[in-house]
């Protein structure tokens, strides 16, 4: 799985003989070591779920959020180095604002995703800077309906119906593939996301974690919103229940 790129991995300016840029691959490692993030694009919106790993009981719940808004109608969720997430989110917010100033209209989700991707890619060109150690999922609703994109440290961006990043990416992707996303509403998707996060969470390796849920959908007035407390509690309870049912079946 891990290959050592001795000599060719010291700087992001250097290609390896087989055409890889090891520094970018190492940046992906930072993402792989962080808590799982899941995002789904459903019929009437986009939902985000984050397995936020907590290092200490002393941390105040609800802080160090990994989900946020880039504009009223676009939100993001991110896996990887939290400080890099904040820097990238700041850039996404600036791009949204500048677009609004120039074109007097909300930035389309795809345009924002591509701008963020282009920005991320620049940091893979020069030895003086390092690539972003975070993968950002950007989702929102514009004139073309709900859309979801994911930007990786290399600067690639693709559109998705459902995607995961972080520790349990493989397991989460398997779970996502089972879902019929085009027929699901955001409200249903929230429950599914919570279930997936709880399922793929590794109880042994990471004891403490906090679930974060956010959405952009009809129920939130087509605006980004951290899922309201009562719905969040329901989804979390259902996820815990599903986990118990799984255990009982085994």
């Amino acid at each position: 799985m891990t290959s050592i790129g001795t000599g060719y991995d010291l700087s992001v300016q250097t290609y390896s003989p087989d055409g890889r840029i090891f520094q970018v691959e190492y940046a992906n490692k930072a993402v792989e070591n962080s808590g799982t993030v899941v995002a789904l694009r459903c019929k009437d919106g986009v939902v985000f779920g984050v397995e936020k790993l907590i290092s200490s009981q002393l941390l105040e719940p609800g802080t160090n959020r990994r989900v946020g808004a880039a504009d009223y109608h676009i939100g993001f969720a991110s896996a990887g180095l939290l400080a890099d997430v904040r820097a990238l989110a700041g850039r996404a917010r600036q791009e949204s604002e500048a677009y609004k100033q120039n074109f007097q209209t909300e930035i389309p989700v795809r345009v924002l995703a591509e701008r963020v991707a282009n920005y991320t890619q620049v940091f893979t060109l020069y030895g003086a800077v390092r690539p972003f150690g975070c993968t950002m999922m950007i989702g929102g609703i514009d004139l073309n309906g709900p859309q979801l994109y994911m930007v990786e440290p290399s600067g690639v961006v693709y559109g998705y119906y459902g995607i995961a990043a972080g520790k349990a990416t493989a397991a989460a992707k398997t779970e996502i593939e089972k879902l019929k996303l085009s027929e699901m509403t955001a409200r249903q998707a929230i429950f599914e996301v919570a279930k997936i996060i709880y399922r793929v969470h590794d109880e042994v390796k990471d004891k403490l974690f906090e679930l974060e849920l956010a959405w952009v959908c009809q129920d939130s007035g087509n605006r980004f919103q951290v899922v309201p407390k009562d719905l969040f509690d329901q989804a979390e309870a259902a996820a815990k229940q599903a986990l118990e049912d799984d255990d009982m079946q085994e």
């Binding site: 808004a69 880039a70 951290v226």
Partner: protein, 257 residues
Amino acid sequence: MEASVGYWPVKEDKVFALQSQQTHQMRQNYIYRPQTQPITHTTDPIVTGTSVLGIKYKDGVMLAADTLASYGSLARFREMQRLEKVGNSTLIGASGEISDFQFIMEDLNKVMTQEFVRDDGYNMTAPEVYSYMSRVMYNRRSKMDPYYNALVIGGLNAAGAPFLGYVDMYGTTYEDNQIATGYGNYLARPLLRKYQRNDMSEEEAKKLLEDSLRVLFYRDARSTNKIQLAKVTKDGVVISQSYELETNWDIGKGVSH
């Protein structure tokens, strides 16, 4: 002299363009002014709105203005909305230069977007908008480059109590139970002072503002009878459609010519 090759920019054009750019830049420094005077930019408004009125009442705050943007003595834009909402609990009304008001709104909307994405649990309410605008207006005044407006900022504070404030192009600010700008200062204020009470009902507040705007229409030569009312209550901000005030010109019959 080189022969012209027939497409733009010809060398002479480039030189001319550069010159006019340079002249433009140097102009401010070379316009005759005594050394003690600062560089001035816009000090004459072009497209303007007239009075804005605001009062506190039982459920919150109500603002009123006519929907005219004048171009000097020409009644140019007759459906100009001069009352705008800022977030869910603040109204802002402007008299004076309309382009400056439009820019102020752009800036305030940017501020509100940043507040939204920050999502820190705090909402910017009327007193904060008022404070922010007073800093902006005073700073511009100090650069002799004012936003040529008188702003009425009304809404609810974080505790839900009504708030009403005034900020103008000099950076002057005050808060009161009733505010008027422009000619309203002279014509409407006596009416507002006499009849405004903090426990007025919505109908009473509406009638008072309509009567005041009617007086302004009779006497302010840069006003119309097409007006808009706006209110802020705990249920949010509502800006009415524009409608015409009934007026009575019977007094004209008694005037002998």
